[in-house]
Every structure is written in structure tokens, then in C-alpha cells.
């Protein structure tokens, strides 16, 4: 065991995670705080060059003053299959115009037409909502925000991997501990308020596989409740390379077909066919697989030659490199019959908060996809929610400075958190967490566990998970790189248990949660959040009815409603 020692950082507000949620939370805290308020932002890697946002187009929903805010709010709530905190969603949308102006104030440019109007576009399946993205996409977005934070005096803590939250000598969270992700040096960050913005947990499967979202599990262990564990973002994709644009491809004539060459979507979704919601495409694919009709393809042969080039272009810098370097053979494959299957991008499990982004634990707030305000973050709404919740959380954290008692650290707790990390270091061990991860991915991505669920398959999956966890318990890390991965895998194993159990708990089908044995929506019994609390080492599940002050199922139906609801016209 190494000797106890490290660095203590003292701050007022600590933001953990530097995607859109974290960056906006830090900016908001600095701008709402009194002069001299200390704000720090930590990320496992380089702030401004990491996170889901940095590698996206950074499409974001913006409601202009002349737009119909109520109509947009209602269709987005419906697009979430009512799994949304309606008050929070409305506030995020209502403030989106002001946030756009904040971003422009940081020299981020948004495209405009000749008459000076923003160039926006509709997003998948919605009528009134419009989204836009900055010039330079997510990389520019993230870097401009980093520069803005530095200019306003926010402390940037690059390469700090947070491993635990501190309770100190009271009931509130008083900061976090972690290690430098390269040197392994121990850090304790004492803070009056802590904002977790580490994304929803993933199983290293999304297109940005550095994101693992461990902060949500740290919050859970610290007493915060989680929700939305039964939902996931599972998107059909190609196995060998990254190709986005299903929506546009389908609009231009692409069709999903099975191994027999049959168009299968109309059979599963008679009204919407290939234009059905992404989760419902995944469901149809899983049923095709169950019926022995795989492999499945996105047949792009009907996409006109004249527009094919548009599918191998991107405004995102890394995608631009990607397409430029793709071999001819791969490009041909895109326009022939491209094998497709549903790929799990991320879970939807986040921290339960109120509409002010405060968790149940004093001193602990959450924003971005780590916050469980909505279970579906479709294009544009995704980062829009991160920007909005980040802003709200930063503002609430400042308000909490005056409400909470000054943080007092507990030396025994800090030492115990240090020992927990130290216990997992062993120079003589082999780095083996990847093997556990692969087994976990195989378990959690199986079509009949992750997409097309059934109690008779979820129960055995829990048994298999227990075996994997047993193997994991014997592992140690020979170096810091592996230690970070080990801690991330540990969080994924806990997340897997929660996800499987939450999937068993919700005995209906809704949004991206499909139960073969309960394949109907059940608003009477399940218009509820499934909340998860740590009950003496085992997750405890309960239902909380979803409040519907703005929109309830059965109201005026837009396209979003029709797409989400099975059988609706």
C-alpha cells in the first residue's frame, strides 16, 4: 500500500465533467456568483477536447422569440413518450435563445442567411422544433467554452479522474476525490457545491468511447436516486465503420431489408415503416433476428446518384477526416447493401433531480445527460438539454452557497477513499479489465436482453452478470491507465445490475424499453419514473408518477406522438 498523500484543492463550486452540461454549469456558476466566487471544472481528459459534445455537430434546439414555445414543448414531451420532467424541459427551451446569445458572446459563430436569419432545420419526427449547430461543430463549441471559462477565471482541472464524492462531517456533499489520469497522483477537491455532469453511463460502445459516465454511479453511492435505467439509446449502425445519417438516408430512399431481401419495417410499423422512431427500428431488427431473418441491411441502392456524395461529407472535423480516408471499397459498401444492427450508444440512466437540478443529497447537483430530466435525447434536444440544465445547475449551485453550511472534510473519509483506489493498484498484475468488459458488452448488448427483453431472459442475464462480477473482484491495475479503466468497468458492472433489474421492474413497453412479455404501453400503471436508491448495498426500486402540467398522453397528437405510440395513427 502506498503512503497517504496528495493535493487538496479548495473551491466554492466544483463541476465534474466537461461536456456541454459541465461547461455551461461552470459558466453559469461564474456568472451568477458574487465576485470572487471560486468555480472549478474537472475532467478525466483535456477540458474542451473531450466529451460527447466535442465529437458531435453540436446541433442544439433553439426557440426563437417568434416560435411557438408551447407547441415545441408539447411535441418534445411527446417525443420522449412522456418520460420527461415537463417543467424542466419547458424552462430549458424557454432559455435557449438567451443561451445562444451567451455562446455568440464567446465568439462561437452560428450560420445565418443573407437576411441575417439563423439557418435552422427541422429535427427527426418533429413539426415545430428547429435546431442549429455552430460553425466548427462540437470541437469549436467545446474549445470556445474552455477559453471563455479561462477568461472569466474558472479553474480548469485537466486530467482529474474523480473516484468518489465526499460527505465530510455533515449530510451534504463537500467535494470529490480523484486521481490524475496520467500520474495517478491523489487529489481531494473540497467544494461547497458539486455538480455532476459526467454523461449517462455507457459500456464503451458509443461513437465516443472515452465517455463512461461514472459520475452517476458515484452520486448513487453517495445517496442520490437514479432513474431511466431501463431506457437506452440504441441506434442501428454499421459494424465496421461509423456512418450516421439514417434519417436523411431514409428520406432519400434507403430502406431496411432482411436477409431474404424483404422490407421488414412496414410489417412491424405499418404506419411509419422505415421512418419509425429509432428505438422502434431497433425493436423491429431484434424481432427479425429472433425470427432468423438476419443479417439485416440498410439498402441504399435507391438513393439517387446525384446526392450520394452528401452522405460521405460532414461538418464535424473528425468525420470529415473519416470520410476522406475511407477506402473506395467501404464507400461502395455504403451504397450497396450495408449490414446494419442496433448498437448501444449509451444508457439513459441519470441522477434524479428537481427542476432546479438539485439531487436528493444536499450540495449535490447534476446537469447534462448525467441528469435524468428526459429519457430520449434526440438530435438537437440532446445538447439543448445539456446547455439548459448546465445553466440551471450552475445557478442553483450559487444559490446553495448561501444555504449550505461551510464544508468540513473528514480526514478518515478522505483516507478511506484514498485506500479504496490504492487497494486496486498492483504493479505485478496484468491489465485484464478489457476481458471483463468484453464479456459485459456481450451480455448487455445481446438483442434479446438489450432491445427485445423478456423476464425469462433478464433473470438469467443477472446470473451471468454475477459470475462476471466475481471474476472482476480479483483484478488489480498495474498502472494508472488501467486503474482508470478498472474503476470505469466497476461502475459499468453496477450499472448493468441496475439496468437489468429496472428492465424487469417496468412491466410494459415504452420509448426504448421493449418487453416481449409485456409489449404494450400501459399509461394507467406506468406513466411513472422508476426510481432507484441504494438500499444497504442493493438497488431498491420504486415508482414516482410523472407530473403532466403541460402535456398528457391522449392530448392533441402531433407527429412525435404518432411515432412513439404503438398502433397510433
Amino acid at each position: 500500500m502506498s503512503e497517504f498523500g496528495g493535493t487538496l484543492i479548495d473551491t466554492d463550486i466544483l463541476v465534474i465533467g466537461a461536456g456541454a452540461g459541465g461547461l455551461l454549469a461552470a459558466l453559469s456558476a461564474k456568472r451568477h456568483g458574487a465576485p470572487g466566487t471560486r468555480v472549478s471544472i474537472a475532467d478525466t481528459w483535456l477540458v474542451g477536447r473531450t466529451g460527447h459534445t466535442a465529437f458531435s455537430n453540436a446541433w442544439t434546439v433553439v426557440v426563437e422569440p417568434e416560435d411557438d414555445l408551447e407547441a415545441i414543448t408539447r411535441e418534445i414531451i411527446a417525443g420522449n413518450d412522456w418520460m420527461a420532467d415537463q417543467v424542466l424541459v419547458r424552462e430549458v427551451l424557454a432559455m435557449s435563445w438567451d443561451r445562444l446569445k451567451d455562446l455568440e458572446g464567446l465568439d462561437l459563430k452560428f450560420p445565418k442567411d443573407d437576411r441575417g436569419r439563423y439557418i435552422r432545420r427541422p429535427t427527426r419526427g418533429l413539426d415545430d422544433t428547429r435546431v442549429l449547430c455552430p460553425v466548427g461543430g462540437g470541437l469549436e463549441f467545446s474549445w470556445r467554452l474552455r477559453q471563455g471559462l479561462e477568461a472569466e477565471g474558472v479553474q480548469i482541472l485537466d486530467r482529474i479522474f474523480v473516484t468518489g464524492l465526499m460527505r465530510g462531517r455533515g449530510d451534504a456533499i463537500v467535494g470529490a476525490v480523484g486521481i490524475h489520469s496520467r500520474t495517478g497522483a491523489f487529489h481531494a477537491i473540497k467544494a461547497h457545491a458539486t455538480v455532476v455532469c459526467t454523461n449517462a453511463i455507457t459500456f464503451r460502445s458509443g461513437f465516443v468511447r472515452d465517455i463512461t459516465g461514472t459520475g452517476t454511479l458515484l452520486a448513487y453511492k453517495a445517496g442520490a436516486a437514479l432513474r431511466n435505467a431501463e431506457f437506452s439509446y440504441t441506434r442501428p449502425g454499421t459494424p465496421r465503420f461509423y456512418f450516421e445519417g439514417i434519417t436523411f438516408a431514409i428520406q432519400e430512399g434507403a430502406r431496411f431489408v432482411n436477409a431474404k431481401g424483404e422490407r421488414f419495417m412496414p410489417r412491424h410499423e405499418p404506419i411509419w415503416g422505415d421512418e419509425a422512431d429509432v428505438p422502434r427500428i431497433a425493436r423491429a431488427m431484434a424481432i427479425e433476428r429472433q425470427q432468423g431473418n438476419d443479417p439485416l441491411y440498410l439498402d441504399m441502392s435507391l438513393v439517387p446518384e446525384s446526392i450520394r456524395e452528401t452522405f460521405i461529407k460532414s461538418k464535424v472535423k473528425w468525420m470529415e477526416y473519416f470520410y476522406r480516408k475511407l477506402g473506395k471499397e467501404t464507400q461502395t459498401e455504403i451504397f450497396g447493401s450495408t449490414p446494419y444492427y442496433p448498437q448501444n450508444q449509451m444508457t439513459k440512466m441519470g441522477i434524479r433531480t428537481d427542476a432546479a437540478c438539485r439531487s436528493d443529497v444536499p450540495g449535490l447537483l447534476s446537469a447534462g445527460l448525467a441528469q435524468a430530466g428526459a429519457a430520449n435525447h434526440f438530435a438537437g434536444f440532446h445538447i439543448g438539454m445539456c446547455i439548459g440544465t448546465g445553466w440551471i445547475a450552475g445557478r442553483s449551485a450559487v444559490e446553495d452557497l448561501g444555504r449550505l453550511r461551510a464544508p468540513v472534510l473528514d480526514a478518515a473519509e478522505v483516507r478511506a477513499l484514498h485506500a479504496e483506489i490504492d487497494r486496486e493498484r498492483n504493479d505485478a498484475e496484468e491489465a485484464a479489465s478489457d476481458r471483463v468488459l468484453r464479456d459485459l458488452q456481450a451480455l448487455m448488448f445481446a438483442w434479446d436482453v438489450s432491445v427485445w427483453k423478456h423476464a425469462a431472459r433478464l433473470e438469467p442475464a443477472l446470473d451471468r452478470l454475477a459470475t462476471i462480477r466475481e471474476r472482476f473482484g480479483a483484478l488489480a491495475a498495474p498502472h494508472t491507465h488501467e486503474l482508470v479503466r478498472l474503476k470505469e468497468t466497476e461502475a459499468m458492472l453496477l450499472a448493468a445490475e441496475i439496468i437489468l433489474k429496472a428492465s424487469l421492474y417496468r412491466t410494459e413497453s415504452r420509448l426504448s424499453h421493449f418487453r416481449e412479455d409485456c409489449d404494450l404501453r400501459d399509461d394507467a400503471n406506468w406513466l411513472c419514473w422508476v426510481d432507484i436508491c441504494d438500499g444497504r448495498g442493493a438497488p431498491q426500486f420504486s415508482k414516482t408518477p410523472i407530473r403532466t402540467p403541460i402535456s398528457a398522453p391522449g392530448g392533441p397528437e402531433g407527429r412525435a406522438v404518432k411515432r412513439a405510440v404503438k398502433g397510433a395513427a
Binding site: 477536447r49 459494424p239 477526416y321 448488448f445
Partner: protein, 82 residues
């Protein structure tokens, strides 16, 4: 997935290491012998330390001022299971 870094043309600026969001590239000290036996020249150069964990984000290639990093677009380590 990252393929090569042409270290012969590397200035040792360390940007590739800094921007990597997966801790794949590490700057490491490389000692070169000189005309005086026992004396060495030291330079920090990038090493592809954990290639298997590359996420194919192209950051190292995009931000390298010398354009000496090559990332292949096909993702070889993507989980294949469903």
C-alpha cells in the same frame, strides 16, 4: 484506430498526447547517443502506448501541427455483439 506517428519528423510538442481523450499516446523520454560517449541527447517523443484503446476520433491527426499522425478510419476494436 491510430496506425503510425512519424517520429523522425516530430518536434515533440506533445499536442497529440494532450488532446487524446483515451490516453493512447504518451510523450516519453528518448535518449540518443552523441559523439561523446556517456553523454546523451534527450527528447520527448510520442509513443502509441495503448493502441487497442484508440477510439478513432482523429484528434491526434487533426491537431498535429506537423501532420505526421495517421489514423485509419475503420474501427477495429468496436464491440460486435447483439
Amino acid at each position: 484506430m491510430i496506425e503510425t506517428i512519424d517520429v523522425a519528423h516530430c518536434t515533440g510538442c506533445g499536442i497529440c498526447d494532450l488532446v487524446c481523450p483515451a490516453d493512447v499516446i504518451h510523450m516519453e523520454d528518448v535518449a540518443r547517443e552523441t559523439e561523446v560517449q556517456g553523454l546523451a541527447q534527450h527528447k520527448l517523443l510520442p509513443v502509441i502506448k495503448f493502441r487497442e484503446h484508440c477510439i478513432t476520433c482523429f484528434s491526434c491527426e487533426i491537431f498535429c501541427p506537423e501532420t505526421i499522425v495517421d489514423v485509419h478510419p475503420v474501427v477495429k476494436n468496436r464491440p460486435r455483439a447483439w
